[in-house]
């Protein structure tokens, strides 16, 4: 019997009506580098998140220690807290229907046998490319993280499931110095497997960006056309829809999309799908963190809001089926409905054509502070650290330090002129390059 089943059994013995255990074992390799690899560390972590219900009273207790004594103590504490918790009138029960969808590309066997030396060599050759690219550029900071994890979920409805998954995250930053001017260039990529990381390509891109931006300047503010690079728009999709399409926010009145199912919330060229089954997706897996099978859920179809995302609790409360979107941001937290892979459907424009068709505007390559945006009000705020002026169909001078503001939901309704076909992801959000009209810029 595994730790998860053991924990469930202990809780039931202590008169819990129901129990659910989530056990995670993670092996993590994290390498930090600048010009050379600076630190190399490995971490082995374990954790148990135990949820119990006594009637309609619930609690969660977690521990990082997985032995019989500690598991027994966890069960005792969870039950003790549940006893004093006020009743949740909306509580029904834990997931009663486990299942697995056949998906692929979420486990990279290669990580099991990776030699430390191979990792270090690959990073060293990537950072060397930055110095070779231009003598004004040098690598200043980068992180590579390789994670292998094993997750088990079991509950008192006598069901259990187990999965193994991997992830690889790479980020690299170059800095350029010349004649007292300085600038940076960053790139990042998140994938499920080692082979997909474009180490060399990203290193060169970071160096190129750093050098080009030595002479970047702010520009005057005003309303303008903005062409947003795929990864940047993906990031915004995640910020504005990550929580607002989740049934949790909808039911609590926090989502501005509540009550809008079946109504147009975006222009007709916008179709957004959550798909937990797409091959090699960042959020792809056979079942969610409660053991529900993952699926493909239309969220926005040709501008019309179609569905929210559900976990077991929110689904039972709304009297619908879970969409398999239960996610725990840590084993110690209860699941929340969140996107698996959030995909903006591609259009037919080529990014180069978008630029060619633009008389005046800004091409946004990199932003910071976009997470300061407010998904409740729709207020979009991001500072462009790397952009280009677009003049008569061409990228001209580099631009930095200007703030994009506007209302994201209004931009989706009126301001999407064209959508590209070049998809990239920022974690679980996937988007092509997008051309927006009428965005306000605060500049010099």
């Amino acid at each position: 019997m595994g730790i998860a089943e053991l924990a469930v059994g202990k809780a039931l013995k202590l008169k819990a009506t129901e129990a659910e255990a989530y056990v995670q074992r993670t092996q993590n390799v994290k390498v930090e580098f600048a010009e050379e690899v600076e630190t190399f560390k490995t971490t082995e972590s374990t954790g148990l998140g135990l949820r119990v219900a006594i009637g309609k009273k619930t609690a969660i207790y977690s521990t990082s220690i997985l032995n019989d004594t500690e598991v027994a103590e966890a069960a005792e504490k969870a039950v003790k807290i549940a006893k004093v918790a006020p009743e949740d009138p909306d509580w029904n029960h834990f997931n009663r229907k486990f299942g697995e969808t056949s998906v692929e590309g979420y486990y990279d066997r290669e990580l099991e046998t990776m030699e430390y030396r191979e990792i270090v060599d690959r990073l060293s050759s990537s950072t060397k490319l930055i110095k070779d690219y231009d003598k004004r550029a040098k690598p200043t900071r980068g992180i590579l993280t390789l994670v292998t994890s094993k997750v088990s979920v079991a509950n008192s409805h006598e069901q259990s499931a187990e999965r193994r998954e991997t992830s690889v995250v790479f980020s690299i930053r170059a800095k350029a110095h010349d004649l007292g001017m300085e600038s940076t260039g960053n790139e990042h990529q998140e994938t499920r497997c080692w082979k997909e990381i474009d180490f060399e390509d990203l290193a060169v891109k970071a160096a190129d960006k750093a050098v080009k931006f030595l002479r970047a300047k702010p520009i005057p503010g005003g309303k303008t056309i903005v062409i947003m690079r795929n990864q940047i728009f993906a990031n915004l999709l995640g910020i504005f829809f990550g929580d607002s399409i989740g049934a949790d926010w909808v039911q609590k009145g926090k989502s501005p999309l509540a009550g809008k199912i079946g109504t147009p919330i975006a222009s007709e060229n916008i179709t957004v799908t959550d798909d937990g089954t797409v091959s090699r997706g960042w959020g792809t897996r056979p079942f969610d963190d409660e053991g529900c099978p993952t699926q493909k859920t239309p969220v926005i179809e040709e501008g019309v809001l179609r569905n929210f995302l559900y976990d077991t609790y929110t689904a039972l409360k709304a009297n619908v089926k879970s969409t398999g979107n239960a996610q725990r941001s840590g084993y110690w937290l209860k699941p929340q409905p969140s996107p698996s892979n959030l995909l903006l459907k591609t259009g037919d424009a080529h990014p180069e054509e978008m630029i060619l068709d633009t008389r005046r505007g800004i091409y946004v390559d990199t932003t910071i502070g976009e997470w300061l945006s407010n998904p409740v009000s729709g207020n979009l705020n991001a500072t462009i650290t790397h952009g280009y002026r677009v003049e008569n169909g061409e990228l001209t001078e580099p631009v930095k330090g200007v703030v994009i503001s506007g209302n994201f939901y209004e931009i989706l309704k009126k301001g999407i002129e064209s959508i590209g076909k070049d998809v990239r992801n920022s974690a679980e959000s996937y988007s092509p390059t997008v051309k927006l009209t009428e965005v306000t810029i605060a500049g010099e």
Binding site: T46, R141, R173, T184, I368, N374, T385, S405
Partner: protein, 467 residues
């Protein structure tokens, strides 16, 4: 000191490491308890309790650093983890070891706590949160309210092959609240929290019902306010935003690792004037209202470091490595999120020192400006290489003809920190330092609890964004 069987085994692993040829080793054990009680819309959303414990071993071999950690304290795991750390060090190219000498400390530090939060019953904790949440529903413009109580107790044990033995125990408690208001189709949220390095006596000492009520009232006021027209204005900044701004836009740039890598905008600027003469900035291990940080995770004592003195850059903050690289003394700023992470250069309590102006004097000669406020702020981000910052601040006030006028919402401030600090032309005589049990500062994937603050200040030019 809480001498346990675990720590005796851990000390032995230091000897084993030396036997296996390392030039230095340290081991950190941690036991961390965290409790969080959340109420959303008058219903208990979750009561979660977390226990985390384990150890991490750092070794130096041929000038390279190796690190490994595990949450399994068994004998086999200790051996395996040491092996992993050595393997990691061997995978790196040998380089010259850079590690400053420090005073070897042996000390037990514990924050004085009157009421241990562990001794408070779950019922009492739930009722504090539930009552505050109910108080937030002041009228029907409030669409959502969530309230959270956070309690944490962090015990850290450090030992090195040089003979250092340090324990630090810190307790921190706090309450956070978010009110969401809606009026004529506009929604606005105001998040705010208060925390203190103290026991449950801090929770008992405050009226959390009025705390939540005030946040709701602010959300209602904000939702019917306008956003300011984007542009460049003179601004008066409140202590909370001064603290966040300094921490994010200046503090990070003063971190020795970012300075020595050349990544920081402050590299090579020691002893240069960087700010107006009104500006003095310090980093202090223990300060009223801030986070309790008497020693870092390399066993180095954290005293008061003067970063900027009357506008001139005086010092950076360091761990042992960055101090050595830059030929400075370690300042006790080598901090790790937990036992699973290596210490890196982090701020502790980073603050601007008080000046001599009354609040009225700060605003009286501003014809058209903004009073930028922290309550309800959503945080900030900075590009350290260029010193560019962006912060979403809370509902703020327009300053017109030397007086506070209407409230504005959705305010974002942005600028370059070096230009901003140069245009600080007046500093208030007040001083507020805050910390938080709920979040902390992120760097290289690690979070650390910090304290931040300062007085009210006046900045001559700042870019204000809005819609």
């Amino acid at each position: 000191m809480k001498e346990s069987e675990d720590t005796i085994h851990l000390e032995r692993i230091l000897d084993e490491a030396l036997r296996r040829g390392v030039s230095y080793a340290d081991v950190r054990f941690q036991s961390y308890d965290y409790e969080s009680v959340s109420v959303e819309n008058k219903v208990l959303e979750s009561y979660s309790s977390r226990k985390l414990s384990g150890f991490g071993i750092r070794v130096f071999l041929n000038g390279a650093v190796g690190f490994a950690s595990s949450s399994d304290l068994g004998h086999e795991s200790l051996e395996k983890t040491l092996g992993n750390a050595i393997k990691a060090a061997k995978a790196l190219k040998s380089k010259k070891l850079l590690f400053s000498d420090v005073k070897i400390n042996e000390s037990d530090a514990e924050l004085h706590v009157k009421i241990d939060p562990v001794d408070i019953s779950p019922e009492e904790k739930v009722s504090v949160v539930l009552d505050a949440n109910k108080a937030a529903w002041v009228n029907d413009k409030i669409k959502s309210a969530s309230t959270r109580l956070g309690l944490s107790k962090d015990y850290r044990w450090f030992a090195s092959s040089e003979g250092a033995r340090i324990t630090v125990e810190t307790t921190i408690v706090g309450l956070s609240h978010i009110s969401v208001a809606q009026a004529s189709g506009v929604m606005e949220w105001v998040p705010h929290s208060e925390s203190m390095c103290a026991g449950f006596e801090f929770i008992k000492s405050k009226d959390w019902n009025s705390f939540a009520t005030e946040i709701s009232e602010l959300a209602i006021e904000a939702v019917s306010s306008k956003t300011p027209p984007p542009g460049t204005y003179p601004v008066v900044v409140d202590p909370e935003i001064v603290g966040v701004l300094l921490h994010e836009a200046f503090g990070h740039a003063s971190e020795g690792d970012l300075v020595s890598s050349g990544e920081s905008v402050l590299s090579n600027r020691l002893n240069s004037p960087l700010a107006s003469e009104h500006v003095t900035i310090t980093d202090e291990g223990t300060v009223e209202g801030g986070f309790y940080c008497p020693f870092d995770d390399e066993g180095v004592k954290k005293d008061r470091t003067i970063i900027v003195e009357k506008g001139v850059l005086n010092s950076f903050i360091h761990d042992r490595e960055s101090a050595s690289k830059l030929g400075a003394k370690p300042t006790g700023n080598g901090r790790a999120q937990d036992f699973e992470n290596l210490p890196i250069v982090r701020q502790t309590n980073y603050l601007m020192q008080r000046g001599d102006c009354e609040f009225e004097e700060l605003i009286e000669d501003i014809d058209s400006g903004v009073y930028v406020r922290g309550r309800g702020s959503t945080g900030g981000e900075v590009e350290v290489g260029m010193g560019t910052f962006t912060f979403g601040v809370g509902p703020s006030k327009i300053i017109r003809n030397g007086e506070l006028a209407e409230t504005v919402r959705g305010v974002v401030i942005s600028g370059s920190i070096l230009e901003t600090l140069k245009t600080v032309d007046a500093v208030g005589k007040d001083l507020t330092v805050k910390t938080s049990v709920f979040g902390g500062c992120g760097k290289s994937g690690q979070r650390a609890s910090v304290g931040f603050g300062g007085p009210h200040i006046r900045v001559r030019r700042m870019t204000v964004g809005g819609r």
